[in-house]
Amino acid sequence: MAKAGLDKIVVRRIGPQDRSLLRRWLEDPQIGAAIQDETIDLSRPQEAIALFEGSDAFRDGALGLLVEAGGQAVGLIHFACINWINRNAEVITFIGPGELRCSLMAAVLMERIGHIAFRILNLHKVYAFVYANNHAALAAFRKVMQEEARLRNYVRLPQGYMDFHLFGMLATEYFAAVRRLDRSGSCG
């Protein structure tokens, strides 16, 4: 992983010291539009932050993590609905600073998601839901995950209905991708 520069990335639990930063991120309309759903209600940001901060993978099947690069907080990874029988989890993720929302940082986040899910939590699969109007996320997920389902006219918006995409990544796919990356050394 050092070859890819990912040794400089730190993933850690979220603490009280992160609340103001998370609040700022959640107030970003782009982030809000991407992650608002049944489980994350951004009309109550304090509750959403408490959910990220207080989550316990074993007690309530959720785990919120902050991603840092070179000491700067760059994004959030939240595993929701961790299912210890099916050994899978939904992942909700975003890059905080607008200027870092590039494909490289997206790739870094995706790698960390796989690392936590498959090397630490021993999950078999992670999956993510993406709204059809979130083109950047669709592009990022299509590079590393399989598009498994497209739920037609799923979300009702003032301007009409929108599709909902479901992406999945299996542990075997993650390990194969990491092996390819290590062999190519293209990010070294």
């Binding site: 049944e38 299912n83 029988i85 078999h124 699969k125 999956y127 399989q146 739920l151 037609r152 799923y154």
Partner: protein, 182 residues
């Protein structure tokens, strides 16, 4: 846009299926019927393990208005049931879960049409215009039944559901009312 309830068959000769909204007094007797179906995974929920390993959990799960369940026939001797999970009224949609205790009816059969009539009545009642159903990809009879009722395949969740010693793919079938999104 609304969903037109079908109260009788197309020729008007067949009454709508006897369909009972499961309430507290009937939960226990229906749970006995429900246990019969335990050999096959029921209440497939992509987010959680199968709930309801006990009567109390069954009661807790179906107590909320968020998960209405209707039996086909009287609860104690139901031929089957259908339930609406993850009701999202703001998006006018829900997950459809259903099971027939004596085998899935064939496409176009009277029982299949009665089932769909009963579902359509509830869709109109709850103002829902979209349904999705998650089922084992090997449940070909259920998939064929939904296909015949106007559902379309919307995807396949790979190795997503653990049952009987291995991970199964889940088929996603979706139904969208005419006019929704159009």
């Amino acid at each position: 846009m609304t969903v037109r309830p079908i109260s009788t068959s197309h020729d008007g000769s067949r009454p709508a299926a006897e369909c009972v909204r499961l309430g507290e007094p009937d939960l226990e007797s229906f749970y006995c019927r429900f246990l019969v179906a335990r050999a096959e995974p029921v209440f497939i929920d992509i987010f959680r393990p199968m709930p309801c390993p006990s009567l109390q959990q069954f009661k807790d799960y179906f107590a909320a208005d968020k998960r209405p369940l209707w039996t086909l026939g009287p609860p104690a001797e139901a031929r089957g049931y259908f339930a609406l999970h993850h009701l999202q009224t703001e998006h006018a949609l829900a997950h459809l879960d259903f099971y027939f205790f004596n085998g899935c009816p064939g496409p176009g059969s009277a029982q299949a049409m009665q089932f769909w009539e009963a579902v359509r009545l509830r869709l109109a009642e709850w103002r829902l215009t979209r349904l999705q159903s998650f089922m084992l990809a090997s449940s070909t009879e259920k998939i064929l039944l939904l296909d015949s009722l106007g559902f379309h395949s919307e995807g396949l969740l790979r190795e997503h559901y653990f049952h009987d010693g291995r991970l199964h793919d889940l088929a996603v079938q979706g139904w969208v009312a005419e006019g929704r999104g159009g």
